[in-house]
Symmetry: C2
Subunit: 210 residues, 2 copies
């Protein structure tokens, strides 16, 4: 097979808007009928494009799904990054991280559009975007713990990797959209009580708690 | 409508064995085809009973499903109760509770039979057996924390109800079989790291940790 040079520079803008149009229609369709039950033919019919034309932009239904998933996760990370910028220190960062994850996750996967189904498939099939999102948050938690240890705010007896991973596990049901759907009822309480529990577990033993 | 006296005393034993036979067949069927996709007609055909005969014992498919769910949850609680009897004190109780929930839950809902689907419906529709199971575990956690506070092993600054509920929330993804299915990969690590994190959060501030 001959390698072809990328063609996007010449057709970029218009290709981009077609891609966006496909993604937008797919999001509506998946939200209504579910990701698993929708075929590329269904999408083609709904948009009024031919199947072949859609395949020019996305090699499979999964590629469309991953594009939706990745863009939602990027929006969550943007909310998280902003929360981190506004935080006053490591303890505040952990509390805000939790709150941002719960709120942005619920908003972007469930309130706005019903994307449960994509979230479920992304988790089950270990889509790269979903795995990268988890890994990024795990590393962020580790970094916050390191900061807190350096400043003497957090205990440093527990191995950093264990303490970070344990905190990551506490947050995971709220990080993973597919699990978040089962925790929406308790999410507001969780966003208060779990960071508080985590901070009690991290507090340096010689600090007097008043 | 005339109220009829319960008829079970006269036919108890044989009715029981028919009920068991229906439940056993249903469990196999649900495990294969899923709870949602199976109808009472499918079950009747599989067992060789008439639909009407099955309705003599269970008023609906959900009643069969609840019976399966309740018996599995009762088996989990039996494992939990034994673990509590064997524990040496409140800290050990929390660690063993977590381990028992993860192991019994995984075994009873996923390894033995594939009952994901029943677990999902039980959670979604708030089946009484699932709700009662959560409530019982919440109360057990509260009781363990009370013991630990009384013995001076746990801090008692945080309101008991908040501390208990926070611990319950950490355990919930492993208590709820529908969430446990997403956490099976990390369950063994979680059963080590999460009780340790919880115990760090509960430790009385004046106790020296060595």
């Amino acid at each position: 097979m001959t390698r072809q040079p990328p063609t996007f520079p010449s057709r970029g803008p218009s290709d981009h808007s077609v891609r966006d149009q496909i993604v937008e229609a797919a999001m509506q369709h998946f939200g209504h009928y579910g990701y698993e039950k929708t075929t590329v033919s269904d999408l083609a019919k709904a948009i009024g494009f031919s199947k072949a034309y859609i395949y020019k932009f996305f090699e499979s239904k999964q590629a469309i799904g991953e594009s939706i998933c990745a863009s939602r996760l990027a929006m969550i990370m943007a909310v998280v990054d902003q929360a981190m910028d506004e935080a006053s220190g490591p303890s505040d960062k952990l509390s805000r991280l939790f709150k941002a994850l719960v709120e942005a996750g619920a908003e972007l996967f469930f309130h706005d559009r019903k994307l449960y189904d994509i979230a479920a498939v992304a988790t089950r099939d270990h889509w790269p975007s979903a795995e990268a999102h988890r890994e990024r948050l795990h590393r962020l938690i580790e970094q916050i713990l390191r900061e807190g240890r350096d400043s003497g705010e957090f205990e440093s007896k527990t191995p950093l990797e264990e303490a970070s991973h344990a905190v990551f596990l506490v947050m995971l049901p709220y990080i993973s959209p597919v699990q978040l759907q089962y925790n929406l009822e308790t999410a507001a309480t969780a966003a208060q009580q779990l960071p508080a529990l985590i901070l009690r577990s991290l507090s340096a033993p010689y600090v007097t708690i008043d």
